[in-house]
């Protein structure tokens, strides 16, 4: 069912070649919205869930932003298909595990997805590669307003948008960036950063959200609080925290490079060798090797044009993607062979690492 998603040549996270940036992989904003006249999904019976899904699906399908988009009924997706959508950050783990009467709309370039009957009736998400909180907010705000023209949303003047969980109450807004922070991890400063931003009401999680670990040195950082501040206030507070973290990451890299230049270059060189030649690679190891390759692009050891290839491989080397492409249901061992093969084929096409530029820096 999801071939169009996998094979798309316009998908934002895997095919966008223009806007990659050091440190920041992508920006996402999501809004939680509910309809006024139906119980929240967890409390609704089957008939109410189906009715709500049909009502919302009709309205969403008509929106211009969803032109040529696709709708998937979660009940009709296989476990593997759900996992692929999860790995592309188009649906959440909660939607994967949901009972029937849930679905998701995904627009053509996979920048927008709307989950129906997740924790809330509607979870709208917009994402973009690189750091662009403002423009993503503008897009989702416009989308939300056009939805409001058609649907009666649950709203109170005191508490704002009403949500199933009080943690999302008010704006219903969760904005996050995916940051690549090898410098802070290698220099053992990540724990300190996590504790410091927690104090500011900001959460740090791994690549796949709650409970996932930070393989590939990739972290998802987002606001925790949604009530008591306007969207503008939340976004500008977040933006300044993100910028501070990015500065710290760059500093950590320079410092590490100053003190351990040979060691770091050796690590990058060996990672490149492994990616080009390994025969068996599990997902964890692949993520960590790819992390070093992204760092190599930042250090100009690999051409900037290859950044998007590496970002794409971060997603395409996830277990679900490897298995989906292999076709048959294959075991973890066989997956590790497929993953290594994919990576060999990709990396053999890259030019040799340019160590000279970094040596000049150091």
């Amino acid at each position: 069912m999801i071939e169009s998603i996998i094979n798309s040549d316009k998908a934002e996270l895997t095919q966008n070649t223009k806007k990659g940036a050091p440190v920041v992989l992508s920006t996402r904003v999501r809004l939680a919205r509910n309809l006024v006249d139906a119980p929240f999904p967890e409390r609704a019976n089957m008939a109410q869930r189906s009715d709500l899904m049909a009502r919302c699906a009709n309205q969403i399908a008509d929106l211009s932003q969803m032109k040529n988009g696709a709708f998937f009924d979660v009940a009709e997706l296989s476990d593997l298909e759900r996992q692929v959508l999860l790995e592309r950050h188009l649906i959440s783990r909660e939607l994967c595990d949901s009972q029937s009467g849930s679905g998701v709309f995904i627009n053509k370039d996979q920048t927008c997805s709307v989950m129906i009957n997740e924790e809330d009736h509607l979870r709208i998400q917009f994402l973009k590669t690189g750091f662009s909180l403002r423009s993503v907010w503008k897009q989702i705000d416009r989308f939300d307003s056009s939805l409001e023209n058609e649907l009666d949303l649950a709203f109170s003047s005191e508490f704002g948008y009403l949500t199933a969980c009080p943690t999302n109450l008010g704006t219903g807004l969760r904005a996050s960036v995916m940051l690549h922070l090898p410098g802070l991890v290698i220099s053992n400063n990540m724990d300190k950063v996590i504790r410091a931003v927690n104090q500011l009401g900001i959460t740090v999680r791994g690549l796949f959200g709650e409970g996932s670990d930070a393989t590939g040195h990739v972290f998802q950082i987002s606001n925790q609080q949604t009530l008591g501040e306007s969207e503008e206030e939340i976004l500008s507070r977040l933006a300044s925290v993100f910028k501070t973290i990015i500065d710290h990451e760059i500093n950590a890299r320079f410092k590490y490079l100053e003190e351990n230049c040979a060691c770091l270059l050796d690590q990058i060189g060996r990672a490149f060798g492994v990616l080009k030649n390994a025969y068996v690679l599990n997902s964890n190891e692949a993520m960590n090797l790819l992390s070093l390759m992204r760092l190599a692009v930042d250090l100009e050891m690999l051409p900037e044009v290859n950044r998007s290839d590496i970002d794409r491989l971060f997603i395409e080397c996830q277990p679900g993607h490897i298995q989906y492409v292999a076709g048959e249901g294959i075991e973890a061992d066989a997956r590790d062979l497929c993953r290594a093969k994919t990576l060999r084929e990709e990396f053999v096409q890259l030019p040799a690492l340019d160590f000279d530029k970094v040596n000049k820096l150091g």
Binding site: V36, P39, S145, N149, S157, E158, L162, P166, R195, S230
Partner: protein, 169 residues
């Protein structure tokens, strides 16, 4: 003083005493050496009591009133167990329970963000239309035809305004 205090986690004698200001409230916690280590409390730079307390946010007081939401039937116990509400009306039903929870959870307890103006004005005008139609039916039943004519005109004006708004948006 410290001899009398017990660790709030394991009841061993407490040797670490913390005071922090979270959301303008002074919060004190006493911990023994090993619990303090385990929680990372000894690192004074980055430790937050808010994290330690966050798990207890949703645990509500004993002996509180038993409420059930008239719209969806959610009870206080349901809310305490899941931390989630059942429907939009729950926010009215459980407002007294929610207030302290929201204070701990968020930057404030009043919404300062976006307002769905179109949806709200549509909801208000639908409610008004509904009232007028009821009044019209009543007037006809009571044979108060002058009133009925007045309500009919008002309904037409109301519908026209709604159409105009729809075109504008």
């Amino acid at each position: 003083m410290s001899e009398n205090l017990k660790c709030s986690h394991c009841n061993k004698p407490a040797t670490v005493h913390l005071t922090q200001i979270v959301n303008n409230k002074i919060i004190k916690v006493d911990l023994c050496e090993s619990c303090a280590q385990a929680k990372g409390v000894t690192d004074s730079e980055g430790y937050s009591l808010a994290d330690l307390l966050s798990k207890t946010n949703l645990t509500l007081e004993k002996g509180e009133a038993r409420i059930a939401c008239p719209d969806c039937g959610l009870t206080t116990a349901d809310f305490r167990r899941t931390g989630r509400l059942g429907c939009a009306a729950c926010y009215r039903s459980f407002v007294t329970l929610l207030q302290p929870v929201l204070e701990d959870m968020h930057a404030g307890t009043a919404h300062k963000g976006k307002i769905p103006k179109v949806a709200l004005s549509r909801q208000t005008s639908m409610a008004k239309l509904n009232d007028l139609e009821n009044a019209l039916h009543r007037a006809i039943a009571e044979e108060a035809y002058e009133d009925a004519a007045k309500f009919r005109d008002e309904i037409q004006a109301c519908k026209k305004a709604a159409e105009y708004e729809a075109i504008q948006s």
